[in-house]
């Protein structure tokens, strides 16, 4: 199909949440792995590049096609089986890549699955579900994200502070390779021998290779380029590979048991320093007033002063946000924590101590919101989620004045001891360039989203330059340029600040082992070789 014609009919499939727009000539919506294989084989023969899509909620433009063919996995949206390990009391589900997080949550909440295509073992496993309430801990803000997308960018979300990222809960993958061959990997099945790995495809082909030499940063959240470590489990190479090594056709995820008690507390501090000190106290890095705080939050989140101001403005002027909680003008910076436990009394005893710590840090325990039931917790979630939504809306309206402007949000993480340095770096950069920016996100893992809201193309360019400078500094701090969104196409330049040319080339070499013609998600994580020349 001609590009223009394609755009007219399938225009929405040329975009994703990054607000980037690409182009393509054809698209398929496979309903099974066999249909993926046949489409991949066809493209392989014709040497046409393929972009894989899930729910297109990614922020790094991985799903935005750069010419060629699109394989959209939204119709592969079944939960295909379950497995219960009685000895270890562990519960697993196999899902197709198009299952949405919101759908999965609904199935789990109702403990109700469509099972008519399941085998007996799976159906039997479901009976064990009754023993407890199970949940999937990876919680990106956008609940319409697909499971395939979550695996491809190694997504995480707020609760990763306690539960880790997507990687930590994926125990099996089926991957359609660029030539149509299939790789089925269970965690623990293929372990690299130091830096030599060997995999066997379903057709019996042995794929052997050498792992790159680059070292990954020592941070809790990282999805910047291929996972690489001597002696690694090879399943980890594919998680977070942004669809560049193969197309995920099935995922086995591990579930966690839900704890009975779930509290949220939003704490408003009088300035940013005291807010950061509070975070450090919550991470047990500092002890305030000899108070022995035992609290272990599952999430620690941050709202900068500007972020709160933005919410306040939107609340007053935009009906879409009129329902978020009102807050006092004197509230400067906010920290949000979530706590899971088996006992309300235990949580409360810790919250009482937290109140004393807030007071000791020149805050006021009255300037807090405590949510101990689902209804109020929802209100705190809405308040948290309003941040990215406000940013998106403002970008959308600026985009109308100049459509070259897209979202400018960072996704970098640094080691624990560099948190204050990173905050300083962000604030100074914003101030020096006289930009309007809001900071929010997962401060517990030193992973903040800095969102610049440019008023014009000039500011947009300035912001982009600033991001490159930050990427370089973050890399120097031993941090990661992408912590959860993936490198995608947008952050290719950032990754170059983190790894040198040779190291990027190692990644390319690794890709070529699985995708010799480089037809899969070309231009994602690193440029296509020929483009570079």
């Amino acid at each position: 199909m001609d590009e223009n014609e394609f755009a007219k009919i399938y225009g929405e499939y040329l975009r994703d949440e990054s607000r980037q727009v690409g182009n393509a000539e054809s698209i398929v919506f496979p309903k099974s792995e066999a249909e993926i294989i046949s489409s991949v084989k066809e493209m392989f023969e014709k040497n046409i590049q393929i972009t894989t899509q899930g729910a297109r909620t990614g922020l790094a433009a991985s799903a935005v096609p750069h010419n060629g063919h699109i394989i959209n996995l939204s119709k592969m949206n079944k939960v295909t089986g379950a497995r219960y390990d009685e000895k270890a009391d562990r519960f697993f589900l196999t899902v197709q890549p198009g299952v949405l997080l919101s759908e999965l949550r609904k199935y789990l909440a109702n403990k109700s699955f469509i099972v008519h295509e399941w085998d007996d073992k799976s159906i039997n496993a479901i009976n064990y579900m009754e023993k407890a309430q199970w949940f999937y801990s990876t919680d990106p803000t956008e609940t319409s994200a697909s499971m395939g997308g979550i695996a491809s960018c190694n997504a995480s979300g707020a609760k990763s502070y306690r539960y880790g990222s997507a990687r930590d809960h994926i125990t099996g993958l089926r991957i359609v390779l660029a030539d149509g061959d299939v790789l089925s990997i269970k965690r623990g099945q293929f372990i690299a021998d130091d830096n030599i790995f060997s995999l066997i495809t379903e057709s019996g082909r042995v794929i052997k290779g050498e792992l790159p030499k680059y070292k990954m940063p020592d941070v809790k959240k990282n999805t910047s380029g291929y996972f690489n470590m001597p002696g690694m489990d090879m399943i980890d190479l594919f998680i977070g590979s942004d669809g560049t090594l193969g197309i995920i056709s099935e995922i086995e995820i591990e579930l966690n048991k839900t704890q009975e008690v779930n509290w949220g507390v939003t704490i408003f501090m009088p300035d940013e320093d005291s807010a950061v000190d509070l975070v450090r106290a919550l991470r047990h890095e500092i002890i305030i007033d000899n108070i022995d705080l035992q609290l272990n939050p599952s999430a620690i989140e941050f709202f900068s002063h500007n972020a709160l101001n933005m919410l306040k403005n939107q609340q007053a002027t935009n009906s879409a946000f009129s329902n978020i909680q009102e807050f006092k003008d004197s509230y400067h910076t906010a920290v949000y924590i979530e706590i899971e436990s088996d006992s309300n009394d235990e949580v409360w005893a810790e919250i009482e101590k937290l109140g004393d710590i807030i007071n000791a840090l020149s805050g006021d325990e009255d300037n807090t919101w405590v949510a101990y039931n689902t209804i109020n917790l929802e209100k705190l979630h809405d308040f948290r989620h309003a941040c990215p939504e406000c940013v998106n809306m403002q970008i959308d309206s600026i985009k109308k004045t100049d459509n070259r402007i897209t979202k400018l949000g960072t996704d970098m993480s640094v080691p624990d001891n560099k948190l204050k340095d990173a905050m300083k770096m962000y604030n100074e950069g914003i101030e020096e360039n006289n930009l309007n920016a809001v900071i929010f996100g997962h401060i517990g893992n030193n992973h903040l989203h800095v969102n610049i809201i440019p008023q014009n193309m000039d500011e947009y360019e300035k912001g982009k330059e600033l991001f490159l400078i930050w990427a370089e500094k973050v890399a120097a701090m031993g941090g990661a340029v992408s912590a959860e969104h993936g490198v995608g196409k947008l952050k290719v330049p950032f990754l170059k600040k983190m790894y040198n040319k040779e190291e990027i080339n190692e990644m390319r070499k690794l890709k070529k082992i699985f995708d010799s013609a480089q037809i899969l998600n070309r231009g994602t994580i690193f440029e296509f070789e020929e483009d570079e020349k």
């Binding site: 507390v265 329902n323 409360w348 009482e352 006021d364 325990e365 919101w369 405590v370 039931n373």
Partner: protein, 263 residues
């Protein structure tokens, strides 16, 4: 000023799940919450208190467990919680409830304003507020969306109606029921929760309110539930066929026949 809020404990969800085999109701682990509309009543009273230095009572009639709910009300800055609890109150319909509450309010003594939520989410009747005011012989106004001014014996407010708003003037003491437009309820803070944990909830029994047994509880309730059943919803999934004209004709008939609340 003295302000009394009437608070009801309701189930946190209205979802009634049916067991398809036994055709009975499944109601497991439903958390009990403050009637959501009462939260607006509490917030409005607290806002008046913050402006004028009033004292706010939270009054509820319910099972002994409702003390925890009143504690929650105190964490929302209500000053004192009073729970009327007695088996003799059980089975009350809106009339008997109004009567019992009026007796509880008489026990509190003088007051200037009673605020109730527009209705309770478990019954949706919106009757207790007006009935209570009438039993007490005071003025009432329902569906208040804004209090404009409070003077010593009068208040003016906006009332939502089907046709828009009415600006009204109400003689005090009075009872108003409030809608969600009136304010945005605040959440408890660590400090207010600490206060609530220490608070004492006053328990009032039937004997203490000097009430007529014939007018309270099931005995004082003119209405009786004869039967309850789960409604059957047919999910109609109909494709309208025909020429464009026929399709439009059929759809317009459907639209005109749909029973909506639109006047």
């Amino acid at each position: 000023m003295k302000i009394i809020i009437c608070i009801k404990q309701v189930p946190g969800t209205n979802e009634v799940k049916m067991d398809p085999i036994t055709n009975t109701i499944i109601r497991e682990n439903v958390e009990a919450i403050i009637n959501p509309f009462d939260l607006y009543a509490i917030e409005e009273a607290v806002r008046i208190k913050e402006k004028t230095g009033s004292f706010v009572y939270g009054l509820s009639m319910g099972i002994p467990d409702a003390t925890e709910m009143l504690r929650e009300a105190i964490s929302l800055r209500v000053d004192k919680g009073i729970l009327m609890t007695d088996r003799k109150f059980a089975g009350a319909d809106t009339l008997a409830t109004s009567y019992a509450l009026s007796k509880g309010i008489e026990k509190i003594g003088e007051y200037d304003l009673i605020i109730c939520g527009k209705q309770a989410t478990d019954g949706d009747t919106a009757q207790v507020g007006p009935s209570l005011a009438n039993t007490l012989g005071i003025a009432y106004a329902t569906d208040i969306s804004k209090i404009l001014e409070i003077k010593h014996n009068k208040m003016s407010c906006l009332k939502i109606t089907d046709d828009g708003y009415e600006e009204i003037s109400v003689l005090l003491p009075a009872l108003i029921t409030v809608v969600k437009e009136i304010n945005m309820p605040r959440l408890p803070s660590i400090k207010s929760m600490k206060t609530a944990k220490k608070a004492e909830i006053e328990i009032v029994t039937f004997e203490e309110i000097n009430a007529d047994e014939n007018r309270a509880g099931l005995k004082g309730s003119p209405t009786q539930v004869r039967k309850t059943f789960v409604p059957v919803h047919n999910v109609n999934n109909e494709m309208i066929e025909g020429t464009s004209e026929e399709k439009a004709q059929k759809l317009s008939e459907i639209l005109l026949n749909l029973r909506t609340d639109v006047n």
